[in-house]
């Protein structure tokens, strides 16, 4: 059984509605499903929401009358056939509705089942056919509008045009209809861009003489004023006898292509300008290492025009080793980006640095088809970097030198402070020593008197007085030492034989040497230059040094005294040594090394041995003034006095004095 036909019945009279349904129900060939409404306001939403195969409608409704009812329904039910139902009195109006799009009209009371079914069936079929036609028309119009070509035919007589016929699609390209071309014979020429007219005329002339000119691309002005690009191809036509009777032209709209081409050209010009004006050298190669492109800068570097570079390889331009290296780098690039800094030699032998970036080139499918290389000279930057690094190193060196001289200054400052300290101690000591002497004198007088008055010899009193007298003498010797230390001496400088001076002094301590079982070893240099010294002062220094050495060897030992002369090549400085450096490089120094085999000096004492009152000797043996006074005396002579521990044990005292200039 076929699908029932869906009917919307718009009828306010229940009797008429029922009657129609009864009539159609009697049909043996068709089935109907009904939707019945009595008012236009109920019909419109139904039409909006559902699809009906046909609409049957009375035009006189409670909320709408006559032709307006049809118009409302037709507007809403655009895709559905409408059959108008009318009374005998308004047949004219129903007829008008049919003119405006209703499929049919039926007069109530004059229809039977047969008429009704036929009317409905035809209405549906007619409506379907109309729709199909409409769609087809729409389709072809659309097709026609999308055609960008048109043809024209120029009839010829004696090689001259007599009539031109344009195909209808000329409208879509030029905006003008064939009729317009017909009326205005010069229109076709006027619409061609003035710049292209000569070429078009020449093409027409050639084809008019039976030739086959190549297709011409030119501009024409659309009726709206827009410029359009067309391709104009012409073919001559001959009759059966070979006589030229006309030519056909095919005009194709190529505006889109032309615009794309222009864009491409612009883009190419843009990149070309970039590549040629960048300060970099740029080239491309294929997978066989053949150059496919090089910018002018690179061409200039090789000294060859581009066409002599393209197709060749590095081996045509570089020494084999270098070319092989370049190609190795190229192969390495396949699959990755490669950036490096190369060091090269210019033809003049200068070092050149080049920054190189190599990248693979891909085709549209992503396959590698070659490599691209961009490089540029960074020699200046490199040289600048090297200069910077050198400057930095020099800076570091001068900083180190500065630090060293700073340390030397600091050390000199410390020595100055020490010297100043010594001076003030000396000044103080001199004052104190003088003030102490008077009380000592008084005590001495007292002891003298008591001794004299001691009528009965009493051993104890005698001992007491002797001890007191010794104490006064000790105190006096300390004050003498202090005064020696503080006194700014007037030196009595005379040229002296150094060895004789040392020998004479050794005789002064001969007794101390033998009583302490110290063996004396003399190693005197021969033909020493004389020294300009205050003899008694230097002797005092030697006595101090010898006595210190003897005191350092209570169990006996060896005292080695060595004299020699030497030209100073460097300022002497030993580890753990105090030095007074007045001698300069180049001076001839006369030197005495006095070495003992004693106990040595404890490290913590080494820095204090030149301080006044510093002594490790028992009270009464040392005053702590021997070395400070000695040092002061040697300083006054412009010499140096150094004390150090020997590795093998014992102490070495080195006295250096300047050789006397014999001119005096």
């Amino acid at each position: 059984m076929e699908k029932p036909i869906k009917v919307l019945l718009v009828e306010d009279s229940p009797v008429d509605s029922r009657l129609l349904q009864l009539l159609l129900g009697e049909s043996k060939t068709m089935h109907f499903s009904w939707t019945c409404v009595g008012r236009l306001a109920d019909a419109l939403p139904k039409l909006r929401d559902e699809h009906f195969d046909v609409v049957l409608s009375d035009l006189t409704l409670p909320d709408s009358h006559g032709f307006e009812t049809f118009k409302s329904l037709h507007a809403q039910a655009a895709g559905m056939p409408i059959i108008v139902l009318s009374g005998t009195d308004d047949e004219n109006m129903a007829f008008k509705a049919v003119r405006e799009g209703a499929q049919d009209y039926l007069v109530k009371g004059k229809v039977d089942t047969h008429v009704l079914v036929r009317s409905i069936t035809y209405a549906i079929e007619r409506h379907r056919a109309e729709r199909a036609l409409h769609e087809s028309e729409h389709h072809y119009r659309h097709l026609l509008e999308s055609i960008t070509d048109y043809t024209y035919t120029v009839r010829l007589q004696n090689n001259l045009p007599t009539k031109t016929v344009h195909s209808p699609t000329c409208v879509s390209i030029t905006g003008y209809t064939p009729e317009e071309y017909d009326k205005d014979p010069d229109l076709w020429l006027r619409m061609i861009d003035p710049a292209d007219r000569a070429a078009v005329i020449e093409q027409a002339r050639e084809v008019s003489h039976g030739k086959m000119p190549p297709p011409l691309e030119h501009r024409l002005l659309h009726k709206t004023g827009h410029v359009r690009w067309v391709r104009n191809a012409v073919v001559p036509c001959r009759d059966q006898n070979g006589k030229l009777i006309c030519y056909d032209g095919l005009i194709s709209d190529i505006t889109e292509r032309k615009l794309a081409e222009e864009k491409l050209v612009k883009s190419e010009a843009f990149y070309h300008s970039l590549v040629e004006h960048l300060p970099q050298y740029i080239f491309r190669k294929d997978l066989h290492e053949r150059f496919t492109f090089a910018n002018q800068r690179f061409c200039a570097m090789l000294g060859k025009p581009l066409d002599e570079i393209v197709g060749r390889t590095d081996f045509d331009f570089y020494p084999p080793e270098l070319a092989a290296k370049y190609q190795r780098d190229d192969r390495y690039v396949i699959g990755k980006i490669f950036e490096t800094i190369e060091e090269n030699k210019s033809p003049l032998g200068e070092r050149l640095y080049v920054n190189v970036i190599k990248t693979p080139i891909h085709d549209v499918a992503g396959t590698i088809i070659g490599i691209q290389c961009i490089f540029w000279d960074i020699t200046e930057r490199k040289q600048f970097e090297e200069r910077l690094q050198k400057a930095n190193e020099e800076l570091a060196r001068s900083e180190a030198a500065l630090r060293k001289s700073h340390e030397e200054l600091k050390s000199a400052q410390l020595q100055l402070i020490q010297a100043e300290k010594m001076e003030s101690i000396g000044t103080l000591a001199a004052g104190v020593a003088h003030e102490v002497k008077n009380p000592l004198a008084i005590m001495m007088m007292g002891i003298n008197y008591l001794n004299r008055k001691l009528t009965t010899p009493d051993e104890n009193i005698t001992t007491v007085l002797k001890e007191m007298r010794d104490a006064i003498e000790r105190a006096d010797s300390i004050t003498r030492g202090l005064l020696n230390f503080s006194a700014s001496r007037q030196l009595d400088i005379k040229p002296q034989d150094f060895n004789a001076l040392v020998d004479e002094t050794l005789r002064l301590v001969r007794h101390a040497l033998s009583s302490n079982e110290v063996e004396l070893i003399r190693e005197f240099g021969e033909k020493l230059p004389k020294v300009g010294v205050d003899k008694t002062q230097i002797q005092q220094v030697f006595v101090n040094i010898f006595m210190n050495a003897i005191h350092a060897m209570p169990q006996g030992g060896k005292l080695r005294v060595r004299t020699y002369a030497r030209q100073l090549t460097e300022t002497t400085h030993f580890e753990g040594m105090r030095k007074m450096d007045r001698l300069s490089i180049g001076d001839t120094a006369v030197i005495a090394d006095v070495e003992d085999t004693g106990t040595g000096i404890a490290d913590e004492h080494l820095t204090k041995i030149f301080d006044p009152f510093f002594t490790t000797k028992p009270t009464g043996v040392g005053t702590g003034l021997g070395l400070p006074v000695s040092k002061k005396i040697i300083e006054l002579h412009g010499g140096s006095l150094d004390v150090r521990n020997l590795k093998e044990g014992g102490v070495q005292v080195r006295m250096m004095l300047k050789a006397h200039r014999t001119l005096t």
Partner: protein, 126 residues
């Protein structure tokens, strides 16, 4: 009848002059007149007429050198020997100058009584 030698002792240290006077007079050979102020020394010399003057150098208000100059300027006293007895010089300095400092014999303090006596005997007018 008085055979004792007359010694003028000038020193600002009272204790020192007391003790030296005791020591010298105890020998029985000397009569000692003490002055503790330098400016009193010359008047004392004029009246006491010493055979020898023991003179300190560093004294308040007037140095011993000035006192010596006053005495040497007086024709009556200019031949009176003067011995400096002072803490201002050290023994070795005196020795180095053969016992003469500023034209006068000199003895460095502290000196024993015996040394003072030896000095007096060496330089006193016989």
């Amino acid at each position: 009848m008085n055979t004792k030698k007359r010694i003028l002792l000038v020193d600002d240290e009272k204790s020192f002059t007391n003790l030296l006077k005791l020591n010298l007079e105890d020998t029985g050979a000397y009569e000692v007149h003490v002055e503790n102020w330098a400016e009193d020394a010359y008047p004392a010399a004029q009246s006491f007429k010493p055979d020898l003057i023991l003179l300190d150098i560093i004294m308040p208000r007037m140095p011993g050198g000035n006192v010596a100059a006053q005495i040497k300027a007086d024709p009556a006293l200019k031949d009176t020997p003067i011995v400096f007895l002072t803490a201002a010089v050290r023994k070795h300095q005196v020795e180095e100058n053969d016992g003469i400092i500023c034209d006068h014999p000199c003895l460095a303090k502290p000196a024993s009584a015996d040394e003072v006596v030896q000095m007096i005997e060496k330089h006193i007018r016989k």
